[in-house]
Symmetry: C2
Subunit: 511 residues, 2 copies
Amino acid sequence: MNGAESLVRSLSAGGVEVCFANPGTSEMQFVDALDRTRLMRCVLGLFEGVVSGAADGYARMAGKPAVTLLHLAPGLANAGANLHNAKKARSPMLNIVGNHTLRHLRYDAPLTADVPATASVFSDWVRTAQTADTIARDAIEGLAVATGHPGRIATLIAPADIGWQEGGVIAPPMQPHGPRALDPQVIARAVSALGPDALILCGGTVLEDPASTRLLAGIARQTGAKLMAPGSNRRIERGAGRANIPRIPYPIDMAIEQLAPFRRAVLIEAQPPVAFFAYPNRPSLLLPEACEVIQLAEFDQDGRAAVQALADSIGAKSARLTDPPRAEIPQAGPLQDLALSAAIASALPEGAIIIDESLTSANQVDSMSAGAPPHSWLSITGGAIGIGPPLSAGAAVACPDRPVIALQADGSAMYTLQALWTQAREGLNVTTIIFANKSYDLLKHELFKVGANPGPDALNLLDLRRPELDFISLAAGMGVPGRRVDCAAELHRTLSDAVIEPGPFLIEAIL
Amino acid sequence: MNGAESLVRSLSAGGVEVCFANPGTSEMQFVDALDRTRLMRCVLGLFEGVVSGAADGYARMAGKPAVTLLHLAPGLANAGANLHNAKKARSPMLNIVGNHTLRHLRYDAPLTADVPATASVFSDWVRTAQTADTIARDAIEGLAVATGHPGRIATLIAPADIGWQEGGVIAPPMQPHGPRALDPQVIARAVSALGPDALILCGGTVLEDPASTRLLAGIARQTGAKLMAPGSNRRIERGAGRANIPRIPYPIDMAIEQLAPFRRAVLIEAQPPVAFFAYPNRPSLLLPEACEVIQLAEFDQDGRAAVQALADSIGAKSARLTDPPRAEIPQAGPLQDLALSAAIASALPEGAIIIDESLTSANQVDSMSAGAPPHSWLSITGGAIGIGPPLSAGAAVACPDRPVIALQADGSAMYTLQALWTQAREGLNVTTIIFANKSYDLLKHELFKVGANPGPDALNLLDLRRPELDFISLAAGMGVPGRRVDCAAELHRTLSDAVIEPGPFLIEAIL
């Protein structure tokens, strides 16, 4: 058994079921091992950013890591933006990246570059395999690191000869580190902080657990504290029967305004909220300076246990929730933001997985879908655009029986549109709604904040017309059927049909 | 004048004419400065790999750097694969990468990541601007580094506040470092090494200068030495009236065989040839172990002067060259490799710029076009696939009066196909020929080298069918017209027409 086979067999025994791959020559022995063992589902991405984004989507929904198979430093760099998003999401992921053999690394071959340095930027753990009999143990250690609390990005660099040499040894599964214990003194401080001028900001695993958020709603009701969630989250379980927790808005002035009333903030798997970007004459931190911050659970502590501890201390119970009404199906009419949002929110089926890279469009889907059937909501966590199409693919691989609906800005879609091909190949039930505003609208807002009166050169750099992108054509080129829609009622109908049909579909919503 | 404006004005005065950009919020003050000054042509790429690949293509043809404008660590990572190719090409390039303000970097904002570490992997020079009054000087220093001999990748990290603060100071142009002087003793050794068992391996600027290659041909003829070029090169000026220098082939066994006869090798802006990858039971270095290597000019020395010095020492003159016959126009018939190559080689117009990311297809275009009208030939230099479409765009921006013909493998095209949109927007005369073999054919060859008998999982990972990619649809989606062709005579006609028509065109050649 060679090193590559020992790695595949050990990871499979450790619970890894899926390999998202864009391999090259230096990874051929791993492809060969995957092929001979047939222990994992192999999913090909036509670009490495598809691979890393899909692995993130899979991890968020499966609650456990997939492995990726990537080619040397350039392949790893291509995966970098979505590794960044996954790292900020604290998604578990294990990357296997090939490298030249040690003897070959001495020479400046065309593909020689610093793989460990490339890996370091977007990984929490990096190791280079040294021998065929230890590579499986390295991989299992990386898997344990990835699977801990919180999830981490582990990257194992696998020189080609370590993969092809005989002497591979199966490594037994390894228990990941559990969460660090909570501090009773901090719990007591948090309990005494709760009151009408307090914020409870909860993120991470808390938002994934409807029992915890219902309990939090009970705590809030009993103490008068306000519940909020960070602007971007790995996954929120929401909809009918679940607590509706508002998120901190993206625009800095709105965020500052909403957080202004608070004198105390209890943070559970969340950090003190920070602006996306710094601006002249605006603070970086969004809570008022005078606000006392109590870090009840850090990211490496168990937020759900923290919620339970709070509830136990004050004798709070899960809130009995009254669901907001479902959004109404809009009448025929243009896709202005309200009608656009209503068309989508009213069509969400039970168990939908919403992938949100909508940016400036359809901003009311969030509030309008609080009463929709229970669903999962996945955000872009690291601000690196181009995650929507692959995140959708990965989520659908993890949950083949649930419809995935991607709310997708047009400019961002173009970074990783190749994921549509993977959606078609794997027959994934993903419905992508492209919000075709035909510009980098978010950046236009930002440009005006710089204070300038933009001229043609600046606007040209933020404009996606000339030529217009035709997403129906682009999708067809990758085997994904689609329809162009400019009416709210038709969007509702088209989306309602698409989520029932198996396989991917793309709706180009003309704004 | 703010820092951003001082940077743009200084770089423009230093000779920079083009900015390839995919900016984000942290670069808005540079967008604003580009807009107000209108000193540079701004070219938008919909993905950062398009930006870096286009800047490389521009640099190779213009002989001077463009600047790129990139967004933080994820944007820089997305540019990484083609920065890698540009670095291996020794193309001059200056990247301006935004970063958060210093005060904001203390917090874990969504887009916070290690920009300097990301830059280091694929840059020769990295600096972070510190104040508004020195950022222009930093940029000019980076420009000088980039423009030296050889070309280098310089990356200036520009925190947002350094750009928006007032106090910018124009920096005067700076003379780049010229080449390091040649060593007369080494020249003497090289002269005495020349003979029938000697190889002259020449790369870099030598291949870009027809006078030097003609002189080399004269030296070879007089001494019996054999001329060769590395497998991949930044640019070769070739065709009728120019010396035809064969390149070292990609397949390792073929390369070893062709280099086996040599007892001495004189290297001019080239390194001892090394295999793309290491394989079991094959050496990394391709020259015979006993071969004496004389490094006449390193990359930082003037190869053209070295050629002249050799010629002067032995009294050699430029060779009088007999051009090989032009390739014949093929008859109607399927696109087998010979007919495919002939269809293309026979259609090359004078001044064509060939972008070669053909990989396993159309491998005889090279030999068949030695007698074609004079043209430039640009290769993928770092082995990071996905450079063809952007490299084409950049070359066309540099040379608006010359037709660009991209020989493009289908799998590789999918990494950076967004460049077609830039080609359409800028009205660039690029004709892309997609070699639709519908697989990662190169990797299939490599998989067989691993020695396995591939099964369905392995072949599935290297197969681009299910669904078939429709490049005509994909191109149409980005505003590029195209035609599908499966006949050699029709390919010849279609290509001949397309190079005359302005604007981009895509030919999907069904193999």
